[in-house]
């Protein structure tokens, strides 16, 4: 009786994504990013995208691939270093950038999915992030009013998923993925392992399937490491 959200591949999953749309893309740095869907967006050639994503990838991976093709018009992020093409487009004015404190970004995505249109947070008060925003004192401390974020499509990456769209993430690859999954009008989940319903423990689901409209098993995950750091054995 559980619903079936399975689509064949990234091509089918991304159907309907159009130029000019707002997309949320999960991941922190290159960790937990929807590699297959990003490749498909490059293939589709959709342009003028507004991308809500904590970071903007590196020059030749992650959202950097879309930046290279000038498919992104606006980035809404908390940190966009490690990307020269991004810097060039930003300084030349080709790319619009909206920088948001990381916690506010996360909470605004959750709020968008949770039907909370706005909330107060202390982050950014007294800085340029707070400019033009309503200020209110709670418990002696100033807070600013932040609004919810939503997207036409949210694209997330999980470790395991079932046909009903339930998702389990791995380690810190979870990051923004569950929050963005909540906030997409349509949410696409790509997973490393797609299993039949009943194989995931219902007690251990990170994203309940109600938030996911399309799910597919991705392939050839590169999972590039941005800062490989090790110690001696």
């Amino acid at each position: 009786m559980a619903l079936n959200k399975v689509v064949a591949n990234a091509e089918e999953a991304c159907r309907g994504i159009q130029s000019g749309m707002t997309l949320m893309v999960g991941g922190f740095g290159l960790c937990g990013i929807p590699e297959n869907s990003i490749a498909q967006l490059v293939k589709m050639g959709v342009i003028n995208l507004t991308c809500i994503s904590n970071n903007a990838g590196v020059d030749d991976f992650g959202l950097g691939l879309l930046l290279q093709k000038k498919q992104i018009r606006k980035m809404i992020s908390s940190y966009v270093g490690e990307n020269e093409e991004f810097e060039r487009q930003m300084l030349s004015g080709e790319l619009e950038v909206d920088l948001i404190p990381q916690g506010s970004l996360a909470e605004r995505c959750r709020a968008g999915g949770a039907g909370i249109p706005a909330f107060f947070t202390p982050a950014g008060y007294g800085t340029e992030v707070g400019e033009g925003k309503e200020v209110r004192i709670f418990d002696g401390k100033p807070h600013i009013l932040e609004s919810a974020l939503t997207a036409d499509f949210a694209i997330v990456k999980a470790w395991k998923g079932d046909t009903a769209g339930n998702l389990i993430y791995k380690a810190t690859a979870r990051n923004f993925n569950p929050l963005m999954a909540m906030a997409g009008k349509t949410t696409i989940a790509e997973v490393e392992e797609l299993v039949p319903n009943g194989q995931l423990d219902p007690n251990q689901i990170h994203t309940p399937g109600i938030f996911v409209q399309r799910i597919f098993q991705g392939k050839s995950y590169e999972k590039r490491i941005e800062q490989r750091t090790v110690r001696k054995a």
Binding site: M1, A164, G198
Partner: protein, 219 residues
């Protein structure tokens, strides 16, 4: 005229394939027994489960697995458990496509009263206010009149409100009514019920089209 099961059966016809559905206590709960052939839906219970199944077989009750009516239940394959904030994120965020609720009164602009009777013990609204304020599609399952024969389909609610302007459809033992533009629109008659009976039982503004079909209660 419909009995409670009939009302549930008629409401079940409103289910569409792929719907997530929240069923309130009472008549709404019965809707789960009449899911049309070929339609897959998943039930959410606001205490924290998606993919709620039937009651357990005797001896298999799990005290840690209940529904919002505090009844022992089961979980179907593909189910998920979550906390109460996540549960109401689903509800407020409009991820649940259909909510079916009981009511004491409904008004012609879609207000609903179903939680409090002045002078009587108030038990609380539970999740009802969140549900009615949030659902895109709310169907009320109720009796057209009270025990004294007075209409509960009103110009304005007399009881304290649960939500304003939120009810889209009402299914009673007599009729299916759609609420829009400040009036009840008569869509269907229950088997054996005349338009005159419905008019007599409805205190709120009622729009009656020339032809009012009788409900077709599919199996």
């Amino acid at each position: 005229m419909l009995d409670k099961n009939g009302i549930a059966r008629r409401i079940a016809q409103e289910l569409q394939d792929g719907y997530y559905v929240n069923l309130g206590i009472g008549i709404p709960t019965l809707v789960a027994n009449y899911i049309p052939q070929g339609i897959d839906v998943e039930f959410q219970s606001e205490n924290g489960i998606l993919g709620m199944g039937p009651f357990p077989i005797e001896g298999n009750e799990d005290p840690d697995l209940i529904n919002a009516g505090k009844q022992t239940i089961t979980a179907l394959p593909g189910a998920a458990y979550f906390d109460s904030a996540m549960s109401f994120a689903m509800i407020r965020g409009r991820h649940v496509q259909l909510t079916v609720l009981g009511a004491m009164e409904v008004s012609q602009n879609g207000d609903i009263a179903n939680w409090k009777i002045p002078g009587k013990m108030v038990k609380g609204m539970g999740g009802a206010m969140d549900l009615v304020a949030s659902a895109e599609n709310i169907i009320v399952a109720m009796m057209h009149t009270n025990k004294a024969g007075e209409s509960k389909i009103l110009p304005e609610c007399t009881l304290p409100l649960t939500g304003v302007g939120c009810v889209k459809k009402v299914v009673t033992e007599l009729a299916v009514l759609e609420i829009k533009d400040g009036a009840f629109h008569l869509l269907e008659r229950a088997p054996g019920v005349s338009v005159e009976q419905i008019i007599a039982a409805t205190a709120g503004k009622l729009v009656v089209p020339e032809v009012v079909p009788e409900m077709n209660l599919l199996d």
